[in-house]
Symmetry: C3
Subunit: 275 residues, 3 copies
């Protein structure tokens, strides 16, 4: 057993939450198949069935994850006709989950998909396969075998990477000196993560401390300020900042921007420098 | 140290939740006593003091758990006269927790209890034993010693298995072509897990797609449909399906059946095929 | 590699919660740097930015934690001028986190701080360091290197322990036969943990079963009873008991004392034996 093998890692992201035993059972299945693998729970708090939020978190976190097997289950189509897949990316990472775009942006960030396997009828699945818990019966067992060194080709039937479901995360644009961006995700603090990056802020000419106007789709306008950190916020003002994965976010220090603005994922905001 | 010993596993189920440090402290206690054991958190989201829900989850998950030590703490009687026990089942599994029925159905599923030990005054407990946190002071230390290979007989005083508190999960019955079943548990999605199995559905003659009537104790009747998966649900209709542990459940796709029907654990439902 | 090194442990406490990927990413960063270290999540449920609650939990749990690296991140001043530090305590424990008092009471309990290092510009940090996620970019990498055996002195610039921010937890006092104590913390069950110990109860002459009066700052008085365990509570009466870390707490069996009394952390209570 090589040193590399001894430190093999599965990262695990899902919308299962931690209130039920779903995550624990998947851990148990993995431990039974590959006792030496280490499982890192990336998060199980993805909003229920929100494939796009899951894709965003996985892609945004990828550069911090050890090269290994990335198990991801946000699966509104479980039991229906969607494919189940295992993917190899150009940089050596493996991905296991439903073929609904969830792993697509992360796999692109990993250099693109070089091989794909359809695993719905994998010899490694646990029989009988339930209609509703493929995390346990299909995805966890396949991830565990791969983490323990089994070859990808044995996981199922070969599939053309070009046939996989893709998912493009929304992007922002600057128009007439104003930034138009969609809210991608609301975290538990009520911070609104935008589909826009620190580069957009630079192109708007925003400097730390500068005033902004946030315009909602309703036309309502709220004042805000561009800051580098929460500590620069004054009182409970709305702030816009570049977050830890270099995306722009809207927040209220010690409060909730989502509640203040009464918006969430999917909402569109226009950001304009205050003049 | 044998290979088996190197991969010894404790599974851990409780109603401690993850908001406080209770689970973390138990992990620390285990790691200090038996550094090489792997602890798998089955779930800590059992509703507070709900012994029956804990028993249900543990028994329902057991076949997916590696043979090892199963630590379970849902303990409304902590500090009172209830016994604390360590149990050996016929299939080699060990159980550690309060003697309140919590581990009983799982131990039956593991072939029945072949040896039992009263551990309230175990030599392995952490002194001083608190009145309210036996998970840390008693159960975790005993589980850790057992996982590291210490013999069960040294955990405490021998106890006749027949003296243990038993717990029978409610069962369902079919009467005049209608299924009478109790709601065992509501998961975080609001799905209602029934004390009935896929076999009951077969005996009712239900086929995927078939219409049903759900009658509440109040007499109120709601239409539903028997489906194989969530993906087959149409709109926000009530569905009945066989869940991942082969129990029947009532659900609303992307919604909460508990909220829709305004019922929870302990409620009785009558399911009748629609004619 | 020594046996000790193979079982090195990082304990991890934060206010990140588990809904987002923050904790998972820190785990990933640690695993990438020091694959053999074991990370024990003490809790990530510290109320947001509540340094005092974090300090209380860390200090109260310390005697149960294996000697190792204690990573702690409750950091309202992230990105501002607060120092980031790694500390060595007299008993061999190491602490890594912000210099805002969070680790101070625990380090005192560990025999006091014998060496301190400012790590804001540590050579081990991940570049580029984000303005808002020092857990990932600074604290986790430093904790991982230390856990893998790197010397503290290499973590950053030496700092005089006397210059560190201290934090004293509030204490209680007995005045005219009455105990004056502050509510330190409300746990998820609504139990109110007081800044008072079982010793205070002894000095008041309280015995199990004795009646009490609880007086709120508003002057409102509620009857309560001093008991040894929850099981001794009668109905939904207010009880006062010595909790698992030997602190006095106010509770309602199967209910919430915080809701009943409508108070929380920071409130002051007067406890007087009922005559």
């Amino acid at each position: 057993m090589s040193e590399a093998a001894e430190t093999s890692v599965i990262t695990f992201l899902s919308d299962y939450g931690l209130a039920d035993e779903f995550v624990g059972v998947c851990h148990a299945v993995i431990a039974a198949i590959c006792p030496r693998v280490r499982v890192i729970d990336l998060t199980h708090g993805i909003p229920r069935q929100d494939v796009r939020a899951g894709a965003l978190i996985l892609a945004g976190s990828l550069r911090y994850l050890p090269v290994g097997v990335h198990l991801a289950v946000v699966d509104p189509g479980v039991g229906a006709e969607r494919r189940a897949v295992a993917l190899a990316a150009a940089d050596g990472r493996l991905f296991v989950g439903p073929d609904n775009g969830l792993m697509w942006p992360a796999a692109q960030a990993a250099g693109g998909i070089v091989r794909a396997v359809e695993i719905s009828r994998s010899r490694w699945r646990l029989e009988p396969v339930s209609a509703t818990f493929h995390g346990r019966d299909l995805f966890a067992p396949v991830a565990a075998r791969l983490a323990c060194g089994a070859p990808l080709a044995e996981a199922g039937e070969p599939l053309e990477p070009g046939e996989l479901v893709s998912l493009e995360l929304p992007s922002a644009r600057i128009d007439d000196g104003r930034l138009l961006a969609e809210v991608l995700y609301t975290d538990r603090f009520g911070n609104l993560q935008l589909a826009a990056s620190g580069e957009h802020a630079e192109r708007l000419g925003l400097r730390p401390g500068a005033g902004l106007e946030l315009q909602k789709e309703s036309g309502e306008i709220a004042p805000a300020r561009f800051v580098r950190t929460f500590a620069e916020a004054q009182g409970d003002e709305l702030i816009v900042y570049e977050d830890a994965v270099r995306r722009l976010a809207v927040a209220v220090n010690r409060g909730s921007a989502a509640a203040r603005l009464n918006i969430g994922a999917g909402a569109r905001l226009v950001l304009a420098p205050r003049t």
